[in-house]
Symmetry: C2
């Protein structure tokens, strides 16, 4: 069964989507807009919706809608407005404290009845660091080391309440069993956290753990902890290679490789005919203002904006991935894409503007379903991260026209069979690491 | 006009409320329970609901329902389920980062359409410190110094977007005006935060700032920033003195004393007759298990539990307030109350179990309304923090029977006249500190 996640972003993933007549340019802070999107995804029986995040104001506010609601807050609002769909929020391990974040995810899991997921990111970019008392970005390796310890502490905190700790025994005047509260007393290199958490164990045991960095360190973190992985893959071959590699690493980390679901991104421009789909794509690309994008590309590539000529290819002498302290895998993806297809800067900007490095695909619902089925059957994906170029219309087109095809082909559920996010992804509820073996029999 | 805030806490403020037959012992993590409470408060046209918080699991889970949802998460759920009532969340300046917290409150303000408030606390207790990489509680003075800088940074972040920064100009391809984004570039003793925030300015400009510490440093912080103050006052005389003192300090800080609303707590046990009200109080006190409370009292007073005899008064030699690094004003309140009324430890535990140091009052709706009116007319309060001993029944009794009396007396609104929390409290929307004087005329 294919897993489908709807990656929600303002009025769409294409950077010029807000300029279309149909788009509300202020939708990115409007709960009603996101409620409509989440309900549409739920109508389509999708596994989950997802929000990206970084604690920084990116780029110029001239370029595109800027300023977004904090994801755990926005997803709480969506939890109340929906009943089945999973809710995955991005949160940074570099700029949070484990006690606070574990608490918020546990709270979201309680509010949603077991539908919370956490996309674990380490947050690239010096501008974010400068919002948190730092002058520079912590090194890539240190960020991932902190991330691993952060997740470890969070797992201990979620397990600090035994499922059976609350008793509610009114007659005896005993609300809970103190023996079933476990103090982690974690002392590590990055964190000292005594615990226990001040929220009962989440309905799912732990929220679903999701990961989205594709560097070496990112993949190691995913292999150890992630239950779902978002990734940007441009070609079938690369996607197969990534899939094989991550499943192997997961097995090496001592886990069943079926317990990690790999979801490449796809930006589907859907039309009733192929011509309509291409016309939508062309209209969106026409609305891009390349000045802004060139500026950002120059920052990512660490060159001067003047060195990027819109109608020429990228300069020959660019830094190697190991010189990059920010988002390593994204850097490599952009350079590889440009070189492989010999794109001019203008063409590259068009491709990135459409999907920010994710695979873009224009076609009919049948063609989009084929594209999904092919990758799924070729060992390249357990599912997909659906990134509509325009919202809400692109998600509605996907749910109303692509999902029924996948359902008819027996590739996608026609009804939810479970009620938690873990159940949607076919993952078990984890045991509590502090649970004592049952001793009732020997007592 | 009197201001009324409903302080929500699980199944009630009385520590034994959960043992009543009517109470759901697991309500403290149940959104449906809190939704019912918030809608009841809104039906009564109250100004706001409020959630206390500390990032620590207090006491024994044997004693009473433990583990609570994180307040910004829970209030977001309530924002969606209500339309007018204000939503005040407690959050610690000692264990958060200003960028993250300012972002979450801005997000809650957007989601609720301008109904967010922040109860600014510095968090006493070594157990909380031990959840955040510390071995000991930071000194009281340092916590308040950090709190002042934290609020200052937050205000700058909320103002980092001019109200007019978003343009949404599709034709020109210009979403926002970069000139109207202001970088705080804050560099202080506790924080270095570049900004700007990644959320547009909140609908209220700033969320309502609330403060609840009554020590010297606490009152200074309130005088400088707070727009509403929660406080525990046992007698009319003390409440008048506190009121006068805080209004004077606010004027000295250069502010209009009308812009700070002072709300003492009241725990009303309401009965159709006086006898019924006293019977409810007696039943609740009977259900307290004094062992747990004695343990906690001993910790607060920094004596051994064995030195507290249930049927004797407090020991004579207790520390002075300036030796206390935790919650100073609470310590003094407890000792003063016990000495003044010559309470035995058991009686003191009963009083604290009922209202944790807040004024308890048992009576008919008419008597509760009288108690409220007297303090309001005597210069002791601008309003009240209503702390029902049992929930939801105690809030329903207040809304259905006390509120109509206050309305008939012309002391309380019969309809909401505004839509934001600030409007309920009669406070203006603050100007943006970075706004440039209008220059259109001279251009
Ligand atoms: C679909 C997808 C969504 C992502 N969302 C975020 C995000 O919201 N915030 C973030 O900091 N990184 C996000 N990332 C990860 C970054 O792109 C980048 O890979 C990461 O910050 C650094 O990882 P790396 O150096 O391991 O590649 C996402 C990645 C993918 C594939
Ligand atoms: C109604 C009310 C609610 C309060 N809620 C909290 C709270 O939720 N969390 C907290 O840390 N302190 C809270 N406080 C403040 C503490 O009681 C205590 O005064 C504070 O932590 C330290 O302040 P002080 O030393 O200035 O008195 C509250 C106070 C009042 C009066």
């Amino acid at each position: 069964m294919i897993h489908l996640n709807a990656f929600l972003m303002g009025v769409g993933h294409h950077e010029a989507a807000w300029r279309l007549p149909e788009s509300d340019p202020f939708a990115q802070t409007d709960v009603a807009h996101f409620t409509r999107l989440a309900r549409t995804a739920e109508r389509g029986k999708l596994d989950s919706v997802f929000l990206a995040d970084s604690p920084v104001l990116f780029n110029s506010v001239g370029r595109r809608p800027a300023g977004t609601l904090e994801p755990t807050v926005l997803l709480t609002a969506l939890a109340v407005a929906t009943s089945r769909i999973g809710l995955i929020a991005t949160a940074s391990t570099t700029y949070n404290e484990p006690f606070n974040l574990a608490r918020r995810f546990a709270s979201l899991d309680h509010v949603s009845g077991g539908r919370a997921g956490w996309n674990i990111v380490t947050t690239a970019g010096v501008d974010a660091a400068r919002n948190f008392n730092l002058d520079d970005l912590p090194a890539h390796r240190d960020r991932y080391e902190r991330a691993a310890e952060f997740v470890d502490v969070s797992l201990k905190l979620w397990d600090s309440w035994d499922d059976a700790a609350p008793l509610g025994d009114k007659a005896a005047g005993r609300w809970g069993d103190d023996e079933l509260i476990h103090r982690p007393e974690h002392r590590g290199r990055h964190f000292r956290v005594a615990g226990p958490l001040n929220v009962p164990r989440p309905p799912q045991g732990h929220p679903l753990l999701v990961q989205a960095g594709s560097s070496e360190d990112g993949k190691q973190l995913a292999a150890r902890y992630a239950e779902a992985v978002f990734t940007a893959q441009q070609t079938l071959g690369e996607a197969q290679e990534f899939y094989r590699d991550l499943k192997r690493r997961t097995a090496e980390a001592g886990r069943d490789p079926d317990t990690i679901k790999i979801l490449p991104g796809i930006v589907p421009a859907i039309g009733a005919t192929e011509a309509e789909a291409h016309a939508l794509e062309a209209e969106l690309d026409r609305l891009i203002r390349p000045e802004y994008a060139r500026q950002q590309l120059a920052t990512t590539l660490r060159v001067a904006p003047e060195d990027l000529h819109l109608d020429r290819e990228l300069p020959a002498d660019l830094p190697a991935e190991d010189e990059i302290e920010g988002a390593k895998s994204r850097y490599t993806l952009i350079v590889t894409l440009a070189r492989r297809e010999r794109l001019t800067v203008r063409q590259l900007i068009g491709r990135l503007g459409g999907g920010r490095g994710h695979r873009t695909f224009a076609g009919t619902p049948e063609q989009v379903a084929d594209a999904i089925e092919t990758w799924y059957r070729s060992g390249a994906a357990d599912g997909f991260n659906i990134m509509p170029p325009v919202l809400p219309s692109g998600l509605e087109a996907f749910v109303d026209h692509v999902v029924p095809i996948l359902q008819r082909r027996g590739l996608f559920r026609t009804e939810y069979t479970g009620s938690t996010l873990r159940e949607h992804y076919g993952l078990p509820r984890p045991a509590n690491r502090f649970a004592r073996p049952a001793v009732a029999a020997v007592r």
